[in-house]
Symmetry: C2
Subunit: 498 residues, 2 copies
């Protein structure tokens, strides 16, 4: 038998685990869109088994040796970055025993299915027992990884979604936003009150027509339907992998904007996946998307930056009018733009405007940190949520469906994920600003429904970089500086006070 | 570390492989119903990887020892049967090297996707190159298994679908049918010509209405939608597993019977899966369906026996009239019954009547045997198919879409499968005959849309037996004798000449 170089052995191992991850993604998509209720327990067994198969492969005794030997075998930059990312995965995996991986996977499935019942029933008590089990296992996982990474338990969980992300940096960013936003919100609401209210197009908007508009807009954005789908799920998401990207939304027949903005948001995620380098990097860690901060930046860049621009709405307005059969002034581009930047503190994060959105995230970040650190009991979550919403947004959710049951994340096991939304929003603003400076044709093209100039810039500066750079390096190379809150603030001031 | 009994180790191994098989089933269902075209190559990688993971586990060096040791550990009959079935799986798996498993899995996916293009284009040449690769790998697999099982290459392939099935027995059964059927077909067509022709309900029948009727009938049959779905695919099938059974059909707006009969057929398969014993046997080999002969008997028992009875059609007629808005005499139960037992040699197997169906199967059986044995070249398949159809049914397909491209089986890698359809049809007749003798209330209940008495008998005598008995033993216990062509012939004579 010929001895393989260690790096080649690692490439094969990671290729197999990437294919397993793709399989998991299909199973998860199916669970959220197609699976009958009674299939949940069997699905949980499948997810748990595949995760343990991948974990066992990555934690096999020879892998540590391979990683060490491979250091001497590679020197091309992407290969070195690949090896760095391999080691990152290995540190995360080898910190956690196999039985914990399996138990966590099952608890995630069980709790997510319980949440699906509890949310429409607005009954937190229904999901509390399985959420307790889940949080316990998440905390155990975080503790194990904290030891291996030499960071806090919260940072260890955050690191799973945002490599090298640290709470200390987030605390500084969020403190700055908390100082800025309440005053800014007040000024925005004042400015808004001085303008005539935009007119609301009247429904009903049949779901099939909303879907048709979604498909039309996705096509304009460059979504490739030979490599993807649009479906309906309880909580919108983007799943799959570059050859088969599946996004979802949910339809409210009284208001077409929620589903449509969801479609645009998830299409932003999809375009990132489509734009990854592929080829020899397709199943290697360096070929993956960088992390959730950059991933969220791509969805928010499309949804909040590009698709709330007056240019885009000038293109969209006649299409929406046509689709929904409206002839009145409420369908004018200017009115739709005003509607799109309407600010109003409300309960649901995914429907929130750009100005109040960070408050939703800061609330969740604070709560999940407290819950993970054991500074708060899960029983106290609904009250703490409502109190926090009152403090940050001045409103109190009437029930837990509009409160702590609204988001899937915690119930599906994603703890340490939420801050990436606001980091992503700030990153989106900074990237879009740089893109427009680099190519003055981007906005005019969007006004003609042509996203190709924007995508060309994104592909060159973000998508195609995959995980070859850290988030910070990527931002510096693309925009000339690390994350800079002043760009975000200037954008808000320009749009909402201008 | 405590030493586990060998049988316990085997149970864990088979449980994991069963969960992997469930995962494969979801991936295959998705590939046939939901996956965008461009996802095919990635899906092929996933299927191949999961198959090699399962194969590697089953062929690990210690498994042979476990099987030997476990002989001394179990003596309860179902455990002994389980061990027998474990050994059967192991013999099949260990005969074949891992790289052949992987290559075969990929070739199956590639060829199936090529077939999806070739079939609507009626262009056999489009699929010929990938079919050649696939058949080569199927033949290699058959040769490897033939050595391990001590049987012919064809029998080794057949054994994958019908355990202990042998071509020598099939040859005898088919020779008997070939002697009986041509004369019987002539008499049937004569008798049919003497009766007034049934009236054909006129379409169009919108797909959504057909689907609604399908769902209504599935519900009456006892299909549990908390544990299953109905979807659309290119070729109808039943996939999934007992907690999540997924059937498909395809809609022809000019003729509702094709989709509906497909739904009833696949529901028969689904009811078998729902009726398996579950519990401690759920992921063990003895808890699986017996084989394809019995599986096909369950679909055909529902489609051809129960749902073509005058009793069922008396229940169905007003529901069909209501669904499709027809008021004329063509919607009378008696007319629908006459339509349902109309005999007419035609090209498509899945739409064939009960009398001509065996000819379709005999043709495929002869051809696949010749192709596997190398007695015929794949290039000659279209001509041989057309010649055989002319000889057996007196008609010649105008193109390959209605000829050798019509069925997915060979293109998906299922060689040695076809004879189980006709063995299944004969088994269905014999089982239904025994069921009606055992419970005279079965047919009257069906007349009221109540399938519970039939299902009770099937569950006790077929579904619940899973793989604890051989096909032959199952038939003897359920009907008092092994497969007996005279029951099938008597049924045909009663229905078509009576």
């Amino acid at each position: 038998m010929v001895e393989q170089p260690a790096y080649a052995c690692l490439q094969t191992l990671f290729r197999h685990n990437s294919i397993l991850a793709d399989t998991l993604s299909v199973l998860h998509w199916d669970m959220s869109t197609m699976m009958p209720e009674g299939g949940a327990a069997a699905r949980a067994d499948q997810l748990a088994l595949l995760k343990t198969v991948a974990h066992r492969a990555l934690t096999a005794p020879q892998v540590a040796d391979w990683l060490a030997q491979a250091e001497g075998e590679v020197d091309e930059p992407w290969e070195r970055a690949n090896l760095r990312e391999m080691r990152r995965d290995w540190v995360h995996a080898s910190a956690v025993p196999a039985d914990l991986v399996e138990a966590l996977a099952k608890a995630e499935s069980t709790c997510e299915m319980a949440w699906r019942q509890a949310r429409p029933a607005a009954d937190f008590a229904m999901v509390l027992p399985s959420l307790k089990v889940l949080l316990g296992l998440v905390r155990q996982t975080g503790q194990a990884k904290a030891g291996a990474l030499g960071v806090s338990v919260y940072d260890a969980l955050l690191d799973q979604y945002e490599p090298d992300g640290r709470a200390a940096e987030i605390d500084a960013v969020f403190a700055d936003l908390e100082a800025f936003l309440p005053g800014f919100l007040a000024r925005t609401l004042e400015a808004q009150a001085r303008r005539p209210s935009p007119r609301l197009p009247a429904g009903p908007f049949p779901a099939d027509k909303q879907r048709a508009v979604g498909l039309e807009f996705m096509t304009a954005l460059g979504f490739d339907f030979t490599h993807g789908r649009l479906d309906t799920s309880f909580h919108p998401f983007c799943g799959g992998y570059p050859e088969d990207v599946r996004i979802t939304t949910r339809y409210d027949e009284a208001d077409f904007t929620s589903a449509l903005m969801g479609v645009l948001h998830e299409t932003g995620h999809a375009l990132y996946d489509f734009g990854l380098p592929g080829g020899r990097w397709r199943h290697q860690p360096v070929g993956r998307a960088r992390g959730m901060q950059v991933h969220e930046s791509q969805s928010l860049l499309i949804e909040m930056q590009a698709c709330r621009s007056p240019q885009f709405l000038a293109w969209a307005a006649p299409r929406l009018r046509e689709a929904f059969g409206g002839g009145g002034p409420e369908w004018a581009a200017e009115n739709l733009y005003r509607l799109g930047i309407q600010v109003k503190p409300d309960f649901i994060r995914v429907d929130a405007d750009e100005v109040t959105y960070p408050a939703h995230v800061i609330l969740r970040y604070r709560l999940e940190k407290a819950l993970i650190e054991g500074a708060m009991a899960l029983e106290d979550l609904p009250a703490a949520w409502n109190e926090g919403t009152q403090r940050l947004l001045g409103i109190t959710p009437p029930d837990d469906r509009l409160g702590c049951l609204q988001d899937i994340h915690w119930y599906g096991g994603a703890w340490g994920y939420f801050p990436t939304y606001t980091l992503g929003a700030m990153t989106a603003t900074q990237l879009f600003d740089a893109a427009k400076r680099a190519d003055a044709g981007i906005l005019p093209a969007i006004g003609g429904g042509d996203f190709r100039p924007l995508l060309t810039w994104l592909k060159a500066n973000v998508h195609g970089k995959a995980s070859s750079l850290s988030t910070r390096e990527l931002l510096v190379q693309a925009t000339g500086r690390p994350l800079d809150a002043s760009v975000f603030k200037a954008h808000l001031e320009g749009r909402y006070l201008g």
